[in-house]
């Protein structure tokens, strides 16, 4: 009897396993359902890989970035390559935020035979995936990964956003010159390439200006930022610069409010998220962030994507339950069209041809002109600075800041 029940139990487990696989297949095909509908015309298909986190600390940001690509795919589902019309199919994988999971997610994309890859949100995981793409010779277009090493150490990685040395300098200049602060408290997560990179560049720039920096790190999974805020207060810091994931940004906003920190919070591009602004709403704090795009920069794009998000319940959930446009969404949109330009220029879906064509691509996106330099980085010399309006719960535009 016992043996029988054990046997039955294992049967159930195997069945569950199979059902799980079945579910996976289904979702994979539903990703491509939009182009499949129009595939009645029997167009050839070109696959664009989407290498983004959908779970973990950066899950919220990754999902918003994917939204931009999905909307772009909805607006422009086909592309002319070498005189033929191809349907564009997005192959989305979840790299789960962390660098350990990056390589397997990247290998998955390689297996699916993508022509070009978009992503990822988060620099650490992009670097981890970059090695795999380089081996396979598949070009990757970084959307918002701002650490210099993403492109510097990888011959196939290009990117359409500004870099951390630039971003760190912009924020340091802004804090020193505009906010008139001489002591800054800098906080990053231990072991995060993105956080520690920005911490380094900010510190360098801020100290060059004549300011003092107190830097500290917190371990992954920290929820209690109260003591860190107290440390900033006792250091006499006028600003707290915390280039951290959205999740930690929310907690830092909360703790700064609770501890009555009266200086300003400075955030990097990760902070430009409706999740952070939701946390800041009604709080007694001031926050400034650098970012890629300001809502209102391209009204046509804004209206279109808002309509699309509101008509699509899943998209709305992934955007955090409202139709505010995150900069990463706009960047995802631009990345998709940059990839299409590269495919057109290559005249082929072969990754090698796309890789050769990519450096010459020039595209006027909603976030500005996109061109690449020798390393593969976008030629950009200005960033948007926004501030959190804690009354209305929206980001207010402050200025466009560039560095000489």
């Amino acid at each position: 009897m016992k043996k029988l029940s054990a046997f039955l139990l294992s049967l159930v487990m195997v069945a569950g396993l199979l059902a799980g696989c079945g579910g996976g297949d289904k979702s994979a095909t539903s990703d491509s359902s939009a182009p499949a509908d129009s595939a009645a015309s029997a167009n050839k298909v070109v696959k664009i890989g989407v290498f983004e986190p959908q779970t973990g600390d950066n899950g919220a940001g990754g999902k918003q970035e994917i939204l931009g690509m999905q909307y772009a795919n909805y607006v422009q589902p086909t592309v002319e390559i070498g005189g033929e019309t191809y349907d564009v199919q997005l192959e989305i994988v979840d790299n789960r935020t962390s660098a350990e999971n990056g390589p397997s997610a990247a290998a998955e994309l390689v297996n699916r035979g993508v022509s070009v890859v978009l992503g990822s949100y988060g620099s650490g995981v992009s670097m981890a995936g970059g090695a795999i793409f380089e081996e396979a010779g598949i070009p990757a277009i970084g959307v918002t990964c701002t650490n210099p090493q993403v492109t510097a150490d990888c011959s196939v990685y290009y990117r359409i956003c500004f870099l951390d040395p630039f971003q760190g300098t912009v924020l340091a200049n802004y804090a020193y010159n505009e906010l008139g602060v001489t002591t800054a408290y800098v906080l990053g997560m231990l072991g995060s390439d993105y956080d520690q990179g920005l911490v380094y560049y900010f510190t360098e720039a801020f100290e060059a200006l004549g300011g003092t920096v107190v830097a500290e790190s917190f371990p992954e999974g920290t929820a209690n930022f109260v003591s860190y805020i107290n440390n900033a207060k006792s250091a006499g810091a006028g600003v707290i610069f915390a280039p951290v994931s959205i999740n930690y940004a929310q907690l830092i906003v909360e703790a700064a409010d609770a501890q009555g920190f009266d200086g300003a919070l400075l955030g990097s591009d990760t902070w430009d998220s409706n999740k952070v602004i939701e946390s800041a709403k009604g709080k007694n704090i001031s926050a400034y962030v650098t970012t890629f795009y300001q809502e209102g920069g391209n009204p046509e794009f804004d209206t279109g994507i808002k309509e699309w998000i509101n008509a699509n319940a899943d998209a709305k959930t992934n955007n955090g339950g409202n139709d505010m446009i995150a900069a990463v969404t706009a960047m995802g949109y631009d990345a998709y069209f940059t990839a299409l330009e590269a495919l057109k220029a290559a005249g082929s879906t072969d990754p090698k041809a796309v890789l050769e064509a990519l450096p010459g691509v020039s595209y006027e996106g909603v976030s500005g002109l996109i061109e690449f330099d020798d390393i593969g980085d976008a030629v950009r010399d200005s960033a948007f600075i926004k501030t959190a309006n804690t009354e209305t719960g929206a980001w207010d535009f402050v200025k466009v800041q560039s560095v000489e």
């Binding site: 500290e216 929820a223 006792s234 907690l251 501890q259 009555g260 939701e278």
Partner: protein, 292 residues
Amino acid sequence: MQAILPYVINGISVGGQYALIAIGYTLVYGILRLINFAHGDVFMVAGLVMVYATTALPMYVALPLVLIVTVILGFTIERVAYKPLRTAPRMSVMISAIGVSYLIQNLAFYITGGVPQPVTNPIPWISENVTIFGESTKRVTLVTPVLTIVLVFALVYLINHTKIGMAMRAAAKDFETAQLMGIKINAVISMTFVIGSFLAAVGAMLYFTNYPSVAITSGGMPGLKAFVAAVFGGIGSIPGAVVGAFIIGLCEEIIKGLGYTTFSDAFTFALLIVVLCVKPTGLFGEKVTDKV
């Protein structure tokens, strides 16, 4: 003095939160000799239920609901995963506990999509800011230790002066004999899980009011530290768990205040090793009468 005050206030509050979780570990260990590894995840689920319940329901329905759901979860875990293994070697139960822990985490992963859930409707009053001795903090920071102490006294009263408490003490002392004396052992064990889960739910409400974001791994760190607190105080002893939790909470925050932020977690686990080497029974572990 002024400089150290905010760290002390925060440390006591953190200690209170750990204490509420640590009691759950220590109660279950006292009776079943089992480290209930799923306890930290029960705490996390309580936080998640709070996120969902407070957005959908008015506060006076949502909060009791959090307590009820968490208690039912704790009860169910015991009935489904531990009770069938009562006669099995203790190691099997422990492995079952680890399995439950990962099962809960992955179910939560499925429900939340793996993205941390912000607490959008915090509990009013305790989430407001107050100023104490010129230092600003949330009211929950002050409420936590007081509420913890009150609950611990209530629990000690329950154990020392009620019938079920007497049964629990008897079961802790000698499992088999207690059974022979007519104590319904399953009811007693269920009761310990109910109490443990209830306290974890209260702890979760306070914790996620202070740090309003629930990730599926949110239960991990507080759970582990509460476990260390329980061992430090002498596992099986309720006063030990509470004292241990307050000491760990205070030390952690003061270490952060001294500027060694990177090492605050390392300290806690170093303490665990030292305690196990030097005084394996913990601070209060020897007095058998305290054991429940």
